[in-house]
């Protein structure tokens, strides 16, 4: 399947969501044009409720009228459908398993803990920061093994795990700023520090990951609104 017309591919999303970011990066890698339908904060469109009745959450990819939900599932779908474009997952089954493992780790362990830093204080906050840092050190080790000296987890080009983890960088920086903490640092995670720079400069990623300042402002709005979940897909 080569070119699709723009109306064939729609993304239901919102600019602050790291999960939505994943889908957009993946589509950019494949040079797929799409229509971005921004959901308003605090309300869910009819289209969203219809397209994702189970979770009622973004992102949703609608391709030829058919909806797909759950960001990592969407990214794999994109990789499989637009197979003539650059590959997102590596070709070797073991390498694919490693990337899927760490992508799930980001979702299950890293991001949920990162979010807690915002509202935690004192000892509890220090404990969570330590937990996140330890997790990032594990990712650093995974990066060293996976990248084999190249810029990305995927090697020369951005791949699945780069997308899964890279999409979190906006919020990671915002949480560092708001919490006055350092999560990625040269001492413990030197590879990831470099990786983050390379990732954000990449053509497929530029302009997609929101500015730290914008996210900090957005976080303040969320706090005022109370109970609106922070970028959950």
């Amino acid at each position: 399947m080569a070119n699709s017309s723009c109306s064939d591919v729609k993304v239901l999303g919102a600019w602050p969501s790291p999960f939505v970011t994943r889908v957009r990066i993946a589509l950019n890698i494949k040079s797929v044009k799409y229509e971005f339908l921004e959901e308003a904060l605090g309300s869910k469109s009819q289209l969203l409720l219809q397209s994702n009745p189970v979770y009622k959450k973004i992102p949703v990819l609608i391709h030829g009228g058919k909806p797909i939900s759950e960001s990592l599932i969407i990214v794999q779908y994109i990789d499989e459908v637009w197979s003539s474009g650059p590959s997102i997952l590596p070709s070797d089954p073991y390498d694919r398993a490693i990337e899927r493992f760490w992508a799930a780790y980001v979702d299950d362990k890293i991001f949920p803990s990162m979010k807690l830093i915002n509202t935690a204080q004192g000892e509890e906050k220090a404990a969570i920061v330590e937990q996140v840092t330890e997790g990032l050190v594990l990712l650093e080790e995974a990066f060293q093994k996976s990248s084999k000296g190249k810029a990305f987890f995927g090697g020369d080009r951005i791949g699945f795990l780069d997308i899964a983890f890279g999409s979190m960088l906006g919020w990671l920086r915002a949480i560092e700023k708001m919490g006055g903490v350092k999560l990625l640092d040269e001492a413990k995670t030197p590879g990831l520090v470099q990786w983050a720079e390379s990732l954000c400069a990449d053509g497929a990623v530029k302009g997609i990951i929101p500015d730290t300042e914008k996210l900090v402002e957005f976080a303040k709005i969320l706090v005022k609104m109370k109970g609106v979940p922070l970028g959950k897909n």
Partner: protein
């Protein structure tokens, strides 16, 4: 000595999925049983991040997390039928969606309903039923979620067929009733009777004893 080894605990539903996948595809493997209260140094070496079962060891390389392992099996033994995932990317996305849905939205709630009592149990059950409704709808017109044969999503929901009646007997509560979920109950029966699945069923009386003891321990730990 098979080049595939599977670390499992006899009662745990997650490694059982992998057993089913390997059996259904006719892949030779050695089983290594772990005592989860006394984990082997091998397990800790192969899964240092989570220290859990299942771990699949293939040619000495370990893979953890059951859904990751299922994808690995499907991709590595491509020529072994039946395929666990369909060929069409949209159908594959759907299979993955339901598998994840089961693990995120059904399994934890059924588990809650099993180990809790009173109001906590009631609430967990209501939430579980809300989510099971989606599964009931999805089963319309299908023998299995994978179509005519057991597939990726069926394997991840297999624990329902294996454990729900065990939980119901122990806790004395109906978790999945015939009136609300007729298709699901039919699916559970079809799954249990599917080729290669029945042979690997853990013995029911052992499961009852194991989970009864586990439930009692967890209830005793609850703050009064």
């Amino acid at each position: 000595m098979a080049e595939v080894k599977l670390f499992r605990a006899w009662s745990s539903p997650f490694p059982l999925r992998i057993v089913w996948a390997l059996e259904v595809k006719g892949i030779e493997y050695d089983m290594i049983y772990e005592d989860l209260s006394n984990k082997s140094s091998m397990l800790l070496q192969y899964n240092p991040v989570y220290k859990k079962v299942p771990v699949l060891l293939h040619k000495g390389k370990p893979i953890s997390e059951s859904l990751v392992i299922l994808e690995y099996i499907e991709e590595t033994w491509k020529s072994k039928t039946p395929s666990l995932l369909p060929g069409d990317p949209y159908q594959r996305a759907m299979a993955r969606f339901w598998a994840k849905f089961g693990d995120d939205k059904i399994l934890p709630l059924i588990w809650e309903a099993f180990i809790k009592q009173g109001k906590d149990q009631e609430e967990a059950l209501i939430a579980a039923h809300e989510n099971l409704k989606y599964l009931e709808v999805e089963l319309r017109g299908k023998k299995f979620l994978g179509g005519e044969t057991v597939g990726f999503a069926d394997l991840t929901f297999g624990w329902l067929a294996n454990l729900v009646s065990v939980f119901e007997e122990i806790a004395g509560v109906t978790l999945i009733d015939h009136e609300k979920f007729p298709l699901l109950l039919t699916w559970m029966k079809n799954f249990m009777d599917a080729p290669k699945i029945r042979e690997t069923w853990p013995p029911r009386d052992k499961l009852i004893n194991h989970f009864r003891a586990l439930r009692e321990t967890l209830i005793a730990k609850e703050p009064k």
